[in-house]
Symmetry: C2
Amino acid sequence: MVKKENLKPDIVSVAKLAGVSVATVSRVMNHPDLVQPSTRKKVEQAIRKCGYIRNRAAQTIHGRRSATIGLVVPTLAYTIFAELVQAFNDTVTDSGFTLLLASHGYDLAAEYQLVRKLLEHRVDALALIGLDHGQDTYRVLREQGVPVLAIWNYAANSEISCIGVDNAEAGRLAANHLLMLGHRSIGTVFPALEDNDRARARKSSAMDRFMSLDAELRPEWQRQTPYSIAEAKVACLDLLDRAERPTALLCGNDVIAQGAIFSALRLGLSVPRDVSIIGIGDFAGSAELEPGLTTVRIPANRIGTAAARQLIKAVDNAADGALLGTRFECELVMRGTTITARPG
Amino acid sequence: MVKKENLKPDIVSVAKLAGVSVATVSRVMNHPDLVQPSTRKKVEQAIRKCGYIRNRAAQTIHGRRSATIGLVVPTLAYTIFAELVQAFNDTVTDSGFTLLLASHGYDLAAEYQLVRKLLEHRVDALALIGLDHGQDTYRVLREQGVPVLAIWNYAANSEISCIGVDNAEAGRLAANHLLMLGHRSIGTVFPALEDNDRARARKSSAMDRFMSLDAELRPEWQRQTPYSIAEAKVACLDLLDRAERPTALLCGNDVIAQGAIFSALRLGLSVPRDVSIIGIGDFAGSAELEPGLTTVRIPANRIGTAAARQLIKAVDNAADGALLGTRFECELVMRGTTITARPG
DNA sequence: AATAGTGATGCAAATGTTTTCATGATAAAT
DNA sequence: ATTTATCATGAAAACATTTGCATCACTATT
């Protein structure tokens, strides 16, 4: 009777095949410099020969590291977080980590469960979007002491490390642009603000600017819609299809702005002649719209890469645990969807 | 001296705190029905009290299951796989699994490395996009015997289970639509075909149709560009900005189609009056374009959900290992970007 | 030639669970 | 009242690694 030769090879069978101890095999994979080149070669050959695939779980359990990093985003729809996720993933992958991804649909209770699940898998580090998170989420992160990073929004007073733009600044830039062009009749289209610090910061700072210059902000021009082109388009059709229209529309992000543009086009309105539209985000594809979308650029790629780098560094120097805040500048990108307001 | 009371709680400390054995604690988490309600309550209380978070790695190592499912996609950019990933992720999450995501940038060598990495983490199942994969990838999947599923393309002769649409059919539908409208001067814009069975199937079946009706397919009307709105727009600007234009453009997917539309608009051409444009995919947002994009619908949501369900089922009935092929129908969606060719 | 130092390797303990098997208690059947 | 069946629980082996410590064979130093 052959003793379980059919089963999946483990480190012991590799060791046997190579004629060394399991310790040596382990070292070949984790500290190759500690083993003599000739033995290393033998072991590597044995690994290939029997098709051995190391078991990360065993490594994880030993308390070393799981070689995984968790990322929790509100949504994967559209391009909202696509560039960010892509850049983040590419960067952690390059460093040998694997990404554990979770999305919660803008539901903080769901987010807590996902965070727990990622912690069960002993992710070496964890990234969340924004700073609005449940009490329980903050608590469990504190207790577990895993390196954690809030991406996308920067706030000086955050209780966890954060990296991103100042969304209040983003809103202000967008609002100022419209005001500077002379617009005083203004509509806004934002998603639900609760549990979404990014949208809240953008909108409230923009509103402050509008009100400080006494812009007209009729209630029927202020809409709420999820981040969805389809739903935004419907909302804006209703907003724009009336005798009295605002001359400009500030949208919570570029996805909503796209919906707004297409609703205007649908109504036979010209953008920007009949209505100016500005977004926030500068998502992939916004530049290529015709006319190009005026928006506030959030450097998603750079943020994603920097976020990943920072977490990887935190994994390496464990126990450091310093609170880091990194602020990226956002920037107005003037393209074709905004124009001077026609004199009243 | 308190013995390591500061360290992270493990199952032993929970057991002590609850006054039961570790076996009972384990059962509370994995087979709650096997333990008496009163003890269960005690244990659950102890778990909450000391903030215990179970260690999935230990479970994985024991050979049970890792509660993870791997998904390898070519890209996360744009909305190409956004709906699919979202649906897939939501479904596996609902069943208690965590998603390990990887993207390889349409590079099959990179894909192999990612697959290996996911196998190191002992994913309970693995999903890939399409049927073009390296020899080594197929081999390692065979050897490991992990449930695997190819998503997005259906082919009767696939050597692994697959679920998706028949991309040749998709190309045929699109081509037929243009031909039916009377178009005989046709341009195509596709990504590189090698290592991309989906694009290859779409294009070759479409070309067959075009040639069978003797359509004019000038070489300068046939372009190759990655799946990128920006790059597609550039390519199409060049394609369309010439004295002799095709009357219709078949695009490899909706992202390319968007680039094509905006390039036409940029050139002052009207879509569909001056040029008809058809995409493939019906991505989120395609319907809301103005005019709405005519395309071939691939039901990404349903495919993603079905794929996840099938893999979960395969995890549950391990050792089954039947080869399954599931074909979803794709369907022409006529919207505003195509119109009858002007007579001769 | 004897000793110290170095570098590669092996042994075995440790990691945090799950599960099989055994045990004891309680309820049901005679 | 005794036997049998059922049920809840515990003890301990098993899982696949990593790593501290010990060992052994050399080389370098005196």
